[in-house]
Symmetry: C2
Subunit: 426 residues, 2 copies
């Protein structure tokens, strides 16, 4: 692991250097994706089938997966897994329900009514990666908030494979209440959702993680449909003092490291002693991990131990990192909540181990990465609604406002705006 | 104006054909913008000055505008204009305050605490166009919601000009509480905000309208910083019945048409008689408009009258159009609010003329265009905050959850996730 020490300014400067690389364009991928999207617009279902053959080596008769096939997949999954998914679902619902927002209407001024409606999106697409990155937990996390928001149709797309879609993914889709599943992967899956084809209905917004082709396609259709954030590699930041347990910290850092060789794991502490123990523990625990190779690369290339000079410095540094997951393993952790400015999901105390949030607590695990917690939020019910403003004026209320409106309109050179109001009093 | 009649299906199909063209890439502009951004990253302030000379024909000593210059600009503006802007500000604040959201924390389960923090973005950039499109009202609309959200620093950029920045723009910036103004336009202005330079601080999010270079630059820096929606040409849709006043409707349609030759103005009605009167009125009123040439082009190329067969068909069609501004000029307009699914800002009744929202009522005038009201919202306080999740578990609560967590983690092949939880009980 890389060690960083020094003043807060020095540490922040050093950190900045390590992060810059993330933002690279890949013009070749961009061009390829652009062509795929154009092809799907042009040839619809036929293009989707051609790409499935080319990229996934599967010849599809039918793009959609039947209700029967979904039920069969569900039935093949072990009962305990279904029970655990159902329990997770219940927690996700009870948390996300609290995010629901309501219309308001005000009548502060005589004759004027102003308000805001909260309206669900009509149809949403969820991209679910295939292969080894097939995570049923992510299906719940992406679909349930949409359902709570009131979205009427949730369309899932996922890459086809010769063995068929994994049973547990089908089970999670059924549990979450997905309305329709299509076996389409990559950029062509995103294109189908954004533009619609003979069998795939056009959606209003696309969410869900994917590889570089999926991410690039989402960026290209952005504006044509809504998209969630572009997800980068997973991250965890841990704030710990000398009283923290190095075994727990090492285990939590490794739980992120095993995701991806690019995963970023960062410990910020004011205790050199603790830092040393954590590092030792990491290499000890690494030995017996099935995904040792991945985790080890992540730790070596993107693992960082930062020694800060004070508690204040620890928070300043961590707020600059703005990690996707933040664990606060400090004595009396909850008392520091106010110091945290930027983090996707915050875990307080030594028993709020980050995987609790991945699988069970009910908070969302689709979170802003690569420092974007400075301006992005976890996926939530708010991602599946949009607002409409409402205005009503009586004639008398308009009479009172009309001179100010006409004055400002003319100041901006927009005479027709002024006249639209004035003609009501001629 | 183009007339459309027929069944709802026929009308929707015809509409679809007219809208498709909007989504074109302009690869030349994209490449140019990419180079400008790279140059600003590399050369900072020097690049900004070079581009000012090249594009705006202004040689700048200082990129920032001094507090004294802002005050002087403010003082030169007519007192009535200041008063009108102050009144608009008051209404904007009283409306947007209602959008404020608050933290929540739940303790539904024993030993478990889950919550959501609402945190303001730290620093926001606002792009304000120069030249003839310099709208002080837009300065208020972009800046005030950020201030209400609790954003500490609002940085404004606007193109330089030989005559200096317009007084009324400076006055609006002062009234809205902008913290710093830089005279930088175009893609280079967006690049400066996204990456920071010696004098321009890097921001977390960029909002505000601009030309194709600005819009393209915003799309390219998206992900590096947050951005608001990409705005297209202005739009108005009006629903009217035979009782509606054709003079008012024509005036309101023209108030959008005068913005831009690309502005889209659409009347949907079940009364052919009314439609004919509106069309006559439009050409009558056009004659004396200072921006006749612009408005006339918009009406000819993007003006549409749709005759629907029923009230239900009127709403179906308008929801598919999803207009930026929607006027409901129906008898008892408010009773139809529930039928509206997609619209940025809704104006009810014959006295809620759309310019009321542009200048005075306090609802925002930065709105989703080109049908994106299906998934985007008006600019609001919610655009300047982000959420953080909070989780706390006691040891006992974790003990109860641990088997489900470990089971799901292992099902996904993520052993280190399972162990992170289990090691707390060894």
């Amino acid at each position: 692991m890389k060690w960083l020490t020094g003043t807060t300014t020095e540490v922040l400067a050093a950190l900045n250097d390590t992060v810059q690389l993330a933002q690279e364009d890949n013009q070749q991928v961009e061009e390829q994706v652009r062509q795929i999207i154009q092809q799907v617009i042009k040839d619809g279902d036929q293009a989707l089938k051609t790409y499935s053959k080319k990229f996934d080596h599967v010849e599809l008769q039918d793009l959609s997966i039947s209700k029967e096939a979904i039920d069969l997949g569900f039935q093949r999954v072990e009962k305990e897994v279904i029970t655990a998914l159902e329990a997770a679902k219940e927690n996700i619902i009870s948390y996300h329900k609290k995010q629901k927002q309501y219309d308001f209407m005000d009548m502060e001024k005589s004759g004027v009514l102003r308000g805001q409606l909260v309206l669900p999106l009509a149809r949403v697409g969820v991209y679910v990666p295939g292969g080894t990155a097939a995570y049923p937990s992510s299906v719940l996390m992406n679909v349930l908030p949409a359902k709570i928001a009131g979205v009427q149709e949730v369309i899932m797309v996922t890459p086809p494979s010769a063995e068929g879609i994994s049973d547990v993914i089908l089970a999670a889709a059924k549990i979450a209440g997905v309305d329709q599943i299509f076996q389409i992967g990559g950029a062509q899956g995103i294109a189908a959702l954004a533009y619609g084809t003979e069998s795939v209905p056009k959606v209003d917004k696309i969410v869900g993680p994917g590889n570089i082709y999926v991410a690039t396609a989402k960026k290209q259709v952005f504006g044509m449909v809504g998209i969630d954030m572009i997800a980068g590699p997973s991250e965890i930041g841990i704030l710990a003092d000398e009283a923290a347990n190095p075994t727990y910290i090492a285990a939590d850092l490794l739980s992120q490291a095993e995701h991806d060789t690019l995963a970023r794991v960062i410990l910020v502490t004011d205790s050199v002693e603790l830092a040393k123990q954590v590092e030792q523990e990491i290499y000890l625990q690494l030995e017996t991990l099935p995904r040792k190779e991945i985790a080890e690369k992540a730790i070596q290339n993107h693992g960082m131990i930062i020694i800060a000079s004070s508690l204040e410095a620890m928070f300043t540094i961590m707020n600059e990192i703005a990690p996707e997951h933040l664990e606060v393993q400090l004595v009396d952790a909850i008392s520091y909540l106010h110091e945290i400015k930027n983090a996707g999901s915050i875990f307080l105390g030594e028993y709020a181990s980050e995987p609790v949030g991945d699988y069970f607590s009910g908070t969302n695990h689709v979170l802003p990465t690569s420092g974007t917690a400075k301006f992005y939020s976890p996926l939530g019910v708010y991602d599946f609604v949009k607002y409409s403003q409402v205005t009503y004026y009586t004639k008398e209320a308009l009479r009172e406002a009309k001179d100010a409106i006409a004055l400002l309109a003319r100041k901006e050179g927009l005479e027709a705006h002024a006249r639209a109001v004035e003609c009501r009093f001629e």
